[in-house]
Symmetry: C2
Subunit: 276 residues, 2 copies
């Protein structure tokens, strides 16, 4: 994967870029994309070998849009990585913490740093479209007293100075990213499988689906539901379980699941990330 081209959503220096380096090493070529949909499309159209997209954050919850894209774009999950989200205050030229009066960042990042702002009441919070994008803008415009909140990769990329680190209120702030490609090759040391299914409209349908795992002592690590479009009040379920899809137990569970659902697709089988 040394020269892999990896697409991600956001400006250069985003948390997705930081996660890409953590999972794939520093030598990957990165392709920033404007939206999540265009990130998936970059792979399906062959502009990138793979893409890395956030799927859940331990404070904010799932990134539901990307669950929907998993279904639509039919890419395979080939890896995952968990990144601790550390918010840094980044400025340029003469701006110090004492002279800082305006802080730009994505609204979610600003909302995750409330303690910093209540300690520094003179600093104005200014919502911006992107964390790394705020640092990029400051690098260009050199706004006096301005700083951004973003990843340390953003500070390095735009040559900004980190005035303070760990601005986030909760240290238990992690984002899980999925690595996706068109390739269906099997992954060495794969030990986790993701799938999506829709239940039949019968009583206890979800319970029956989960029983195919529980009765075989297969651990589920995540379950997420999304609406089934065109079928009001029916749902798709996205499930991750511990195990290779070709293990005897998993194969039996998947065959059993096939008997009780309307629709089933395996989204990928990959090496699980360390939890933190």
């Amino acid at each position: 994967m040394k020269t892999a081209k990896v697409a991600f959503q956001g400006e250069r220096g985003s948390f997705s870029e930081e996660a890409a380096y953590k999972l794939l090493g520093k030598r990957v070529r990165v392709i920033p994309c404007e939206t999540f949909a265009s990130t998936f499309r970059a792979v399906s159209r062959g502009k990138a070998n793979c893409c890395l997209v956030p799927i859940e954050n331990t404070l904010a919850g799932s990134i539901y849009e990307n669950y929907d894209h998993l279904l639509e774009y039919r890419l395979q999950i080939i890896g995952e990585v968990n990144l601790r989200i550390v918010h840094n205050l980044i400025a340029f030229a003469g701006t110090t913490l004492a002279s800082c009066c305006k802080v730009y960042s994505h609204p979610v990042a600003l909302a995750q740093c409330t303690r910093f702002f209540s300690k520094h009441r003179k600093i104005e919070k200014i919502p911006f479209y992107d964390t790394a994008g705020s640092v990029k803008m400051l690098a260009e415009k050199k706004i006096k007293g301005g700083a951004g909140i973003a990843s340390r990769v953003a500070a390095a990329h735009y040559k900004g100075r980190i005035l303070r680190t760990h601005l986030e209120d909760h240290r238990e702030n992690y984002t899980r990213f999925l690595l996706l490609s068109k390739s269906k090759k099997s992954i060495p040391k794969a030990n986790k499988t993701s799938l999506v299914f829709s239940t039949r409209n019968i009583p206890g349908a979800l319970f029956k689906c989960l029983s195919v795992f529980a009765l075989r002592e297969i651990d589920l690590t995540k379950i997420e539901s999304r609406p089934l479009r065109g079928r009001p009040w029916e749902y798709l379920f996205y499930v991750d379980f511990a195990g290779h899809r070709d293990d005897e137990k998993s194969k039996n569970a998947l065959a059993h699941l096939g008997e009780v659902v309307n629709f089933l697709r395996v989204l990928g089988c990959y090496k699980s990330a360390s939890r933190i």
Copy 2:
């Protein structure tokens, strides 16, 4: 409830207001609030008797923020209503469909009317903060050739003209709203119960929780997960089931659930809405 004061998020004429009339009749007093959080606060601080908030849409999925507020504000669910979302093109004065060149609305509403815009390629889509807010703005500013996309309640409230109805791509577009209050009085004809729990961190935990319902043939109508803050990769589950919380079967199921979870709270017991 004839003179109940009902808080909702959005401008006058929002879909929430339309849902309030459907559930409570035309004689309620409505209190528009800026955010979902301030809608919940209006009730907890006694400014409103109840509030009506959207909890899920059949195309876009759950309104996750409101699941989080259900936990935080400790209001009781006392009712629900399903509203079909019909998007109307609303204009003022001399603007007709032929002379319309700019359409303002919330980005989600604009995204749900793609077929209309591909048939009328000369019309520019302009994102606005609120559906009803776009009609309010046009009523004030009388922008030439401008129209908004919003509910028929918005057209009536701001005295706009409906140029075309059913702009939405999918007819199967419904939003479910919950009615919340501080009162813990029991509701006549209640037949549905909502609760939230967190599982123990053991294999098959969710399966054990769902078994307390399945083994008693209690139907679940919805399950939603949200992250447990401060406990990375652990989750809260929100479940709705068919039945009164004080039925023999439900009481046993809830007692049984209490044995296998870390945390359990009943969010309300209320009369279920017709599905469409």
